[in-house]
Structure formats: C-alpha cells, structure tokens
C-alpha cells in the first residue's frame, strides 16, 4: 500500500504542475479566445412551407445540413466557443447539435445552445444575450445559414488592431465583392455602402428598396468634411458575418426599437451623432462568402458548392462522418451504394446520395439528389433539389424545383420550375404542378386537407398560401417574386421595363428636382432664411401639385421630403399647405368661377386629406385652426371661407368638435380685430354644432 500511495502522490504533484502552467497559458490566451454567436433562426418565412417542419438551418444543402457549413466555417476561423441561439424548432436544433460531431471532445470549440423563444428579430436575440450576460469579449455574429471559406485570421487581426487603437470601432462587417446581378446575391436585398477608401470605415448604410426604385440617397455633408475619399458601393454580397464588440448587444438593449442588424442597427449607429461609434467593413476579394437567405440564393449557393467555389467545403470533403462522396470529372459527386442503370445519364454538376437508385433512360442534369431516392424510368431531372427518400415514378419531369423528404411524384407528372413540394406530399399521376405553387401536407393540429386540383385524385397535400406575412412587410410581394427558386425571365423583364419607366419619370421630373437642389444649396449659404425658404418652397410645391393636378400621395411625399431636408416643423408644413390651399380657394372665389362654399368644397375635398399627415392631436388641430384663421384675414370673403373650411374639414373628420371648441375659447383666436372679424360667422356654426350634438345625444 505504502509505495502505491507515494506513487500516487508523486503523480498528483506531477500533474499539478502542468495544470498550473495551463492556467497561466489560458490567462495569456484569454484575449485570443473568440466567441461566436450563431443565430439559428432567420426571423423570416421565405422557406415556408419547408420551414414549418424543419428549421431553416437544418435544411439540406447538397445533402448536408446548412448549420454544418456554418460550424465548419467557425472551425476554420479558429473560434473556441460557440453559442447557438435557438428560437423556432429549438428542440430539433438542440437534438441535432447534441448528436453531431461538434459535441464530441474532438470538436475544435465548445458549443452551447441558448433558448430565446420570444425573440422575433435579431434585435430581440441580441437583447436576450445581453440580459443573460454571456458575452465577455469580441465575438463573431453569424446566422446559421452561411457558407464561407474566408481565412479569418487576417480579418480578425485587422479588427483587433483597430479596436486596440480606437475603442469605438465596435463592429467589422465582412463583405464579399460581387457584381450587382450576381446569382449568389439575394435579389431585393441589397444595400449601398459608403466607405472611406483608405480605412474602409463604413460611413453610411442605406437599404435599397427595389420596389420603390430608389433614385437618391442623402448623405450628411459632414461626412465629406471628415473623409477625403469616399466610395459608394453596391457590389457586395453582405452575408451578415460581423465581428462585434460587447458594446453591440448593449447598444441593442439601449435602442430597444432596433430589430434588424443592418437596416436598424448599422444605419442607426452611423446616422446618430451622439454615440460616436464607428463601423468598419472588411472587403473580401478572394474567397467565398454567401448566405442562404432565400430560395434563389439556396439555388445559387448549391451551385457554388457543387462547382467548388467554396473549396475545401465541397461535398467530397465529406463533412459528416457517414458521407462517402467521391468527385468525378464535370463536378459530379457520387456516394457509395448507388445503383445507376446502364442507360441512365448523369450530366455535369450533379450530387447523388447513398442508396439512391436511378432506372433506365433517366437523365439527371445539374441537380442534387438525396439519399435512398427511387427514380424511375425515363425521368428527366434538371436543376432540381431532391432531398432524401423521394420516389419519382416513370416519365416524370422535374425542373428547378425543391422536392423535400419522403415526397412522391407520380408517373408522367410534371413539376414546373420554381415549385416546392414539401415533406411527404404525394402527387398523383399525370399532374402538372405549377411553378408558383408550394405544396405541403403539414397542418399544425393534425387536420387533414387535400387539394385534389393540385395533387391529383390519389394525391396528398394542399397548396400552401402564406397570408400571415403579407401586411407585415411592405416589400413582401417584391421579395416573394424575386426570392423564389427560379428568378424567371418574366419578372426580370418586368423589372427592366419598370427601370425604364423610372428613368422616363426621372426625365420628366428633372427640372423640378433641379429647383429643389438649387434651393437647398441656397439654404446652405444663408441659413437664417431657412424657415422662410421652406415656407416658400413648400407652398410652391403644393400650388404646383394643384395646378398640375398631381396625385395626392405624390404631393404628400414631396412635402414630407422637403420637411426632412429642411428639418422643418409640422407647424411650418401646415402653414405652407394652408397658404397654398386657401390661396387657391380665394383665387376661385375672386375670379368668380365658384361661390365661396363650392370653391372651398371643391378644393378641400380633393386636397384636404393632405392635412391627415400633418395634423395629429388636438394641439395640432388648434394650431391648424389658428393658422387657417390668420390666413383668412388676408383674403376677400375670409369669414365665409373660414366657416366653410371648418365645416368641410369637420365633415372629413380632420377636425374634431372638442378641438374646434377649444380653439374658439383660445384667446389667440380673438387677439386682434382682424381675427375677430374673420371669425364673425363661426359662433352660429358652433351653435348648430352644439345643438346637433345635443339632439343626437338626446336621441
């Protein structure tokens, strides 16, 4: 016993020493440790109905779950601690991670999942993280659907160097250069970055809204004083890979209305003068970085992976332990145990998973086929994504569609480009599935619903329609149209024509625009006359709208823009609008075209709604009435115009009874003789108003 004990004692001593060394090493390495936050949820619904059953990050891309690519990137980047934020389908993600190789001791990083079930945006998730206090140092923020092979050491070193110099450099965005119509760029989701050419500091960020055909962005003139060389660029794939300092979640907490990391956060930080934080961009020109954010990019990234832009992250590196892909000339990847009939043809850019059988005469081109699929005779598959356990019967035609696990496509059926056939849907023989259809079998509460039209007599499944999102997002339609699997030529043409109309429109508007810009340069020169110039400008704008009979919305938009450009108050906007409208009315009256009442009604019925965007609460209404009153003092028949105007606006619900009564009791409304004179007809109307009120009350 004795010697044994001694031996153990020795061992303990020996083992203690290195552990001490380790701890000291750990301390010195503390700065080098890199955390990564993976947002497993996309907070979007573009992949529905597929994402009804599986979270987006677990959808297979070339037969490997998307999350796997993200982790692989993090491993390459040398991350030592990964925190996965789960929201929707959290149980599935947790289970996947628990059974993956990343939970093994051999994993290059420790992995932890954090539940954040209430979050509905990136902002919420960040606030949640901030509240939990999990973030200790600079971290990498990515979503769970990126594919990237950028060697990260340089990016990180550059970020750390900047941080060491300036504590306010809170964020570095990794951007990949790519031409504007590149297939891997998400349509309808691009942005303009204004960067300092020398330091790559991002000084302005502007989301491009394709539907609105943005023609201009406004930059703070201050920017030009601070930076000598600016690049305004729209040639980036922004896959939302950011290195953030711990300030970022804190800033999200401070600004609780920030939801989107780019649209709200970056834009907000850059436009705010108070914070003084800076954001930098790291432009990648050599390697690959992309994000699967829509079906269109799903298609593009799949193609990129197959044609080895993402090397070494390709199917034949067999990311998962049980994969056995082998590369063949022409970017064909085949796993073991595939049965290919002698007369079938496998063309280039194809991936075929283990256990799949392809029968005679079938042609497969540029497609991904999952595991254990049964593909019948004379089937044609082109550019399609077919997941695991799918059965495709004889003579079927599938083009550029996604067929999810367990689906069955009947003989001689056709799936048109862009269609999605979700899990376990069964399509009968001789059925044509249109390109814009998304079929699913999933119904949350065990109900059963079958669209016989869509899936045929013996089919199973129904057409999924996404209605929840429609009102929520302005650009939804745009995104749906452009983010589909197939960015078809028709919609491309449509956008082309709208481009040309936009430019025609621009030409039409040009003289006016120029006037605006000269005006603004005037204001730069003499800032004291800012208010007057705004009044003049706005009044002119409304007058023009009336004279040229513009759309109400356009007039309102123009006023709004003008107000923002001049930083004017709503009071001034109201004053200008009133001046223009009453001017018009009095012109009609004076020229004897119409009687006062008719003139007021004709103008205000058309243009009155303008005030809806200028007059909000009671105080505004009182202010508005005072302005009208004051304006009418200058006009012929002012008192009757005032009366009819009030009546008319009261009918339009722009003015409320309470407001009118308060205005009348307000001493300002009788402060001088003119005001009293012009208001001489009002008491009678008020009397009518109150009696009418009483009558309706008594009734």
């Amino acid at each position: 016993m004795g010697p044994k004990k001694g031996g153990q004692g020795n061992k303990a001593k020996v083992s203690k020493q290195p552990s001490q060394q380790n701890t000291t090493q750990d301390e010195t390495n503390q700065d080098e440790r890199l955390q990564a936050i993976v947002l497993s949820d996309s907070y979007q619904t573009r992949f529905q109905p597929l994402t009804l059953e599986t979270p987006r990050c677990l959808l297979p891309l070339c037969n490997t779950a998307l999350l796997e690519y993200t982790f692989e990137f993090l491993a390459l980047a040398g991350v030592s601690e990964v925190i996965v934020v789960c929201c929707a389908h959290a149980d599935q993600i947790q289970e996947y991670i628990a059974h993956s190789r990343w939970s093994n001791p051999s994993s290059p990083f420790t992995i932890e999942t954090v539940l954040s079930p209430e979050s509905v945006s990136v902002g919420d998730a960040m606030r949640d993280l901030d509240a939990k206090g999990l973030i200790t140092s600079d971290f990498l923020l990515v979503s769970g659907d990126i594919v990237c092979n950028v060697p990260f050491d340089k990016v990180l070193a550059a970020h750390r160097e900047r941080r060491a110099k300036d504590k306010n450099a809170i964020m570095t965005m990794v951007l990949r250069e790519a031409s504007p119509l590149h297939r891997t760029r998400a349509r309808a989701e691009s942005a303009i970055f204004v960067l300092d050419e020398q330091t790559n500091q991002c000084v302005h960020y502007e989301e491009i809204k394709t539907r609105k055909h943005m023609q201009q962005i406004s930059l703070d003139p201050e920017i030009f004083n601070k930076h000598t060389d600016l690049a305004i660029r729209n040639d980036f794939i922004d896959c939302h890979i950011d290195i953030c300092s711990p300030d970022v979640p804190a800033l999200f907490t401070e600004n609780f209305d920030y939801n989107h990391i780019r649209k709200d956060f970056v834009h907000g930080i850059l436009t705010s003068d108070l914070l003084g934080k800076t954001i930098f961009a790291h432009i990648v020109t050599d390697n690959y970085a992309a994000r699967v954010r829509s079906l269109q990019t799903y298609d593009a990234v799949s193609k990129d992976v197959i044609s080895r832009w993402t090397y070494p992250i390709t199917p034949d590196s067999n990311l998962l332990a049980d994969q056995t892909f082998q590369y063949q000339r022409g970017h064909i990847y085949k796993e073991e145990d595939i049965v290919l009939a002698r007369s079938c043809r496998i063309n280039s850019c194809t991936v075929i998973g283990a256990g799949t059988a392809v029968d005679d005469g079938t042609v497969i081109t540029g497609s991904v086929i999952g595991r254990r699929c049964k593909i019948g005779k004379n089937v044609s598959i082109t550019g399609a994504y077919i997941w695991d356990d799918v059965t495709i019967e004889d003579d079927a035609i599938i083009e550029s569609a996604i067929i999810a696990n367990g689906a069955v496509i009947g003989a001689s059926s056709r799936v048109a480009p862009g269609a999605i056939v979700s899990y376990n849907v069964k399509i009968d023989r001789n059925v044509v599935v249109d390109g814009n259809k998304r079929l699913t079998r999933y119904l949350g509460d065990g109900l059963k619903k079958v669209d016989k039209d869509a899936v045929g007599e013996h089919g199973d499944g129904y057409v999924y329609e996404d209605d929840s999102e429609a009102e929520e997002d302005d650009d939804y339609e745009e995104i749906v149209n452009s983010s589909g699997l197939v960015y078809n030529m028709a919609s491309l043409n449509a956008s082309d024509t709208s481009f040309s109309t936009a430019s025609a429109d621009q030409m039409h508007r040009k003289p006016r625009r120029r006037r605006v810009s000269t005006a603004s340069s005037n204001t730069m020169a003499s800032e004291d006359s800012d208010e007057d110039s705004f009044l003049r400008e706005a009044q002119a704008s409304v007058e023009r709208a009336i004279a040229e009979n513009h759309d109400l919305d356009i007039a309102a938009l123009e006023l709004g823009t003008l107000r923002m450009a001049k930083n004017a108050h709503f009071h001034d906007v109201r004053a200008a609008t009133i001046a223009a409208l009453i001017g018009r009315i009095s012109h009609l009256v004076n020229s004897n075209t119409l009687k006062a009442r008719a003139a007021v009604e004709s103008v205000l019925n058309q243009w009155g709604p303008l005030f809806r965007r200028q007059v909000f609460d009671q105080a505004d209404q009182i202010d508005f009435l005072l302005l009208v009153q004051r304006d009418c003092t200058r006009r012929m028949q002012g008192s009757s115009i005032l009366l009819h105007a009030i009546n008319c606006l009261y009918d339009q619900d722009i003015l409320e009874e309470d407001a009118i009564l308060t205005w009348w009791q307000d001493p300002q409304s009788k402060e001088d003789a003119d005001m009293v004179k012009v208001g001489e007809l009002v008491p009678r109307w008020l009397e009518w108003l109150t009696t009418a009120e009483e009558e309706s009350d008594s009734e």
Partner: protein, 372 residues
C-alpha cells in the same frame, strides 16, 4: 480502478486527437505531402504507445482501421497512406525478427517472393499463413513485451528520416547540375527542390527559371524565386505560356512532386505534365526530387481519382456574376506525369530510373498492406 479510469481518459484523448486530425485533413488545414506525412507519423507514435495488444495482429488491424479512416478523410493525400504502410511493414518486420530468432524460419515468410511461382497466390493467403503460423508458435505474450519499444523506436527513426530527407537529396545536387547550366523548375512549392538548388548553389553557378504555375502557386513562385535570388542564384520567373519557347535553352528540368506512384509516374503541380512533354520533345532531361515517403504502392489505374480539384475562384473571379452563371470551371491542383516523361528520380536512397520504382515499393511496403 484509478488506473483503468486514467486509461479510459487517455483513450478518449487519443480518440479526440484522431478525430481532430481527420477534421484537419478534411478542412485542408494540414496540406502538402511532407506535413501530412509528419503529422501521420506523430499520430501513429501516439497510437502505438497507447495501444495494448495480446497479439501483434491485433495491433496491425488496429492500425489498418485507423489508416482506412485517414485515407477516407483525404484520399488524395497519398503520403498519409504511405506512412501507415511503412509503419505496418515495420511492425511486421519486428514481429518476424523476433519470430525468426525464436522459431528460426523467418526467411521462409519473406513476402518478397517475386518469382512467377507466387503469381497465382493472393495476399490473403499470405496473411492467413502468417496468422496461423504465429498462432502455432504460441509466442504472443513474449513478443508483446519486447516489441513495443522497438516499434516506437522504428517510428522515431521514420520521423527523423522525414525531417532529414531534404538534406540527403540536396547533397546529390552537385552531381546533377553542371556549371553555368540553366535549370527550369515548374514546382515552386516544393521544399525539396528549394533545398536541392540552394545547396548546389554553394558549389556551382547556374541559372534557374521558375515557372509561375498560375493560378494556384503564383505567390509561392515569387517567394521561391526570392529565396533563390537571395542565395545569389540568377533567377527568372517566367509565365507558363513561355515554357515551350525557352525550353531549347534549358539544360535540365527539376521537378518536385506530390506523390510518386508504383509505376514511376508522378503527381506534380498542374501544368507539369505539359512541361515534361515539352522537355521530352527537346530531349531535355527531367529530374525528379522526391523523398521516399512520397512513394506510393498505388498504380494510376484511375488517374482522375488521384487528382485533387481545387478552388474554382482562383481561375475565374467570383465577383464576375455574368460569367459565373454560364461557365463550368475546373481547377485541378495536380497533373499526372507518366513515367516515360521522367528520366531520373532522386530519392534519399539515391537516384533511380522511374522504371525501378516498383522495386523500391517492394522494398519498403508489404504487399498485404497495399489495400488498407
């Protein structure tokens, strides 16, 4: 209890280490024959020192399984399989030595029967024979105790050999390169070639033309040329397209290689095959510098399966969206150079004709390990 606990954690550690290595191979974090060979040898050292076996065949199967896994991770890094096979041969040799000294019939077991007589016998029979024989010997336990340190020593020697391999090759440079000769090299990523030239430059004065090897090795080419120039060698970097026009003036083509196959053919950086063809047309000698660890017992029955296809982005800029969509780009990293194009292979064992490579394979590997 404590001891077994420690053993389990050790085994876990080792497993984690192996898995980490596999992942690194898949991610191409360990690349290049030399690095892979060295890392494999070091891994085997750990595995053997941690391994427990009652019979030598258990160790052999254990290592074979490991070898299969590593090969599966990166089937195109042949050096990995080569080192595994070398170690297997080493283990077999050690066990036969002890067997031989005890039972006295080790010579009969020699696998190097190259006469027609053994043509029809399969490898499996060899294995079965040996198995039954060593079982009959009943020397299992005594062997186990003796062998471990020998095997570890053998692997240590292998690692030393790997580390010094360039030295022994470089020392042959003086015999190969004449005074004022012009040397062309299309493999600037080869450490062996670099040392070969630098060492020779101490005794000889010569000119080196370095081919750029666009697109995969351009940066390495320039580093390589810089190192040569710093050593006082007259160095010129030429583009790949210029090779044919300049070949008439070249005295020798010196090639580094990724792997040498059993038929004497090689895998060298892409473009090498064309340059060797060109050298053949001009009757310019082609000399290959290679360490023995690159010698693989495989035959190039399916050349394509041996050639790694790399990053497409190096050939075509990814940002060019209009092209990316329309063309299919392939960027092979290696070329297969047939043995007819090569005149001499300089190894750390001396210079050999490519047609002699099969013999070196037989010397260093066991036939029964040819397929892991």
């Amino acid at each position: 209890m404590l001891a077994t606990g420690a053993h389990i954690t050790k085994e876990k550690d080792l497993n984690a280490h192996i898995e980490g290595f596999v992942a690194q191979l898949k991610r191409r974090q360990i690349q290049g024959s030399y690095n892979v060979a060295l890392a494999t040898a070091q891994l085997l050292l750990r595995v053997v020192s941690a391994a427990r076996w009652t019979h030598i065949d258990q160790l052999v199967t254990q290592i074979k399984i490991l070898g299969k896994r590593l090969q599966g991770a990166q089937p195109r890094e042949l050096a990995c399989g080569n080192i595994i096979r070398r170690v297997l041969a080493l283990i077999r040799e050690e066990s036969e030595d002890t067997n031989g000294s005890e039972s006295g019939d080790g010579v009969a077991n020699s696998p190097l029967i190259t006469s027609m007589f053994s043509l029809l016998s399969t490898n499996d029979e060899y294995g079965a024979n040996r198995l039954s024989q060593s079982l009959m010997d009943g020397t299992g336990k005594s062997i186990k105790k003796d062998l471990k340190p020998y095997i570890i020593e053998g692997i240590q020697e292998l690692i030393d050999e790997l580390r010094n391999i360039d030295e022994s090759i470089a020392s042959m440079g003086v015999e190969m390169i004449h005074e004022n000769e012009t040397i062309l090299t299309p493999t600037p990523n080869s450490k062996t070639v670099l040392k070969f030239l630098l060492r020779t430059a101490q005794k000889r004065k010569f000119t080196v033309l370095v081919v750029e090897v666009f697109p995969n090795d351009v940066e390495k080419t320039h580093e390589f040329a810089l190192k040569l120039a710093e050593a006082g060698i007259e160095t010129t970097v030429i583009t790949d397209a210029m090779v044919y026009s300049i070949m008439g003036r070249v005295g020798k083509v010196v090639l580094g290689t990724h792997a040498v196959l059993a038929n004497g053919g090689l895998l060298a950086s892409a473009g090498a095959a064309m340059i060797c063809q060109c050298a053949n047309v001009h009757r310019t000698p082609v000399v290959v510098c290679t360490g023995l660890y690159k010698l693989s017992p495989m035959y190039p029955f399916d050349v394509e399966s041996l050639i790694e296809v790399g990053d497409t982005g190096k050939v075509l800029a990814f940002e060019d969206g209009s092209l990316v969509d329309k063309v299919n780009v392939v960027n092979p990293l290696y070329d297969y150079v047939p043995p007819e194009s090569v005149d001499l292979c300089i190894t750390n064992m001396g210079g050999y004709s490519p047609s002699f490579m099969y013999r070196l394979v037989l010397d260093h590997y066991r036939q029964e390990d040819a397929t892991l």
